[in-house]
Amino acid sequence: MEEARKGVLGHLKMLEMEANNLELKQQELRQRGRQEELNANLQALLSKRDQLKAEIKANTSLQKMRTLLDQTGVPYERNEDVDNLEDGSDNSQLLLMMARHTQLKDLLHAHHLIGGYDVLQTRKGKGVCVSLATAYEGVYLETYNLEIDLGSNLRICRHNIPPFIPLERLVTQGNMQTDIRDFLDTLSQYLNAYAGRKQQLHLTKEIHSSVQVAESNALCTILVLMFTIPGEKAEAALCTLQYADHTQRLPTRVNIESEDTALVSSPQWKKNQALLLETPLHTALVTMKKTGSIA
């Protein structure tokens, strides 16, 4: 009997030991798994940090090279200053090219920003496309495009210039064949003047809701506005602005009419008339409101 009990106990003890061992092993495995996970995370972060460091280093070298290029003005040939900046022959050549790449990109973008014609070759050199940018008081407005056929005679084959701009006249009476740049400058003048007048009207409608626009034409060369004169009678005044010179953004003639004829011939209104001739419309109206001439 004793022996049998000893056997069972012994067996049980063995089982317990095995179970303990198993648990220990599992714990070890879990710990190792956890460790590996932590390690992996750490590695990932380390790698990210090293990547960032490498990027910053590359960027800084590139910036230094670019600044050097800008200062020395020697675009491409290896010069002494550039040689000194090098840290390894292979990469330095690449660095120089990268710097030159960014420099050219900036210069080309700048040509575009200053209102350049952005000339583009089309149809394998048989044509060019030009863009005419317009802007007013710092705001970039519409861009118009022309495609010119480079035959024995220059010919405009496509464009999106509004019909009320005298393109035909400028082509036939102008110097497009002999001085394309002068032709484009003149066309640009017309387009920018139109854009400017249009923008003044737009701003007037937006800012001065008390001023009614009775009439306006597509080219914005004739404007009829209705003002409300402050006072008990709340008289109205009709103001006609004529822009006879289509290359200008200011009117050539201002006419003010009202039932109250005395008011219209008053010195204040003579001043207003002069103001409207010399100042952009939306700005003139601000002054006229301030002085109490209009509501």
């Binding site: 932590l38 750490l42 800008d70 200011l250």
Partner: protein, 315 residues
Amino acid sequence: MKKNLENVYEAQFKALQEEIAALQGQQDNNEREIAMDLAGGRMQDALLIMTGHQEMGKSQRDITAHLKTEIMEMEEDLIRQTKINGIVLVNCCVKTVEKGNKKMVQQHRLTGHCSFLDFQVEFELTDVQEDTTLVRTITDLNIVMDSTEFKDFSNFVSGVEDKRDLLLFFRTLRRFSDRCEDRRRTFQHFQEQVQEAVPHFPRMFPSMGSEKMENQEWKEKYPCVVSLPGGCRAEVMQIKSPKLAGCALTIYWSIEVTNEGDITPKIDLLTKMPEKVLEMDSRKVIENAPDSFQSLLRILGAEASIDTVIQSVAV
């Protein structure tokens, strides 16, 4: 032991995260200070090489070659734009002032020249993404030019700065420089023409025994008919008669610029004659000379009119 290990890891982790945040901040700052456009496949490939991560299948030689091609194409493009725009841009530096989801503000610094007129232009560009369109505005404009001699142009420049009309500035600069070139070319032409003609003058005055005179002696005795006291880029041309002392004709060629960028060349003729000569002028030819010159200008143009005046004085 296990707890300790975890703590160590956590500490390292946190330290690395902080380091990365700091590095990120540094990178953002660097990119703002000197904003460079690194977009485009070739540049991205090149950047990978620089940071030591090369993509499989793209050798450094290939990438270098492709980059070289792009650079050449851009250089050709730059020549085309420079030619059609008539403006030479030498440097362009961009700095990012603000960068958000829908808004970006960048400062541009341009240096360059339009023929002989140097400029340094700084402008702030604000791009705002509104619904479907991008609204681009110039929010500040600063122009520095060495044009102290051109008072008219300086006034125009101040006006254009106030109105932030960058495009008008460059359009007008170009046309102004074209008109200056016209003037310089014409003035220079006459200066050279007269200097060439000097040897011929002796033949007109045979009684002076000038056949035997050397050119140098002749030049000293009969000063040039035409002189440009301020150089061929200035506004004034003086015409003096070699035989009538005290008689001078002056051509004033000014180029006016309005605030709206309208350019008007104005050429005036002024006469300076001694009292005695004026008294003898019964037909008021000298008094009417300035007006006559204006009529001449309308019919013959600048060069021919000035030529006529010089001929009438030289003979």
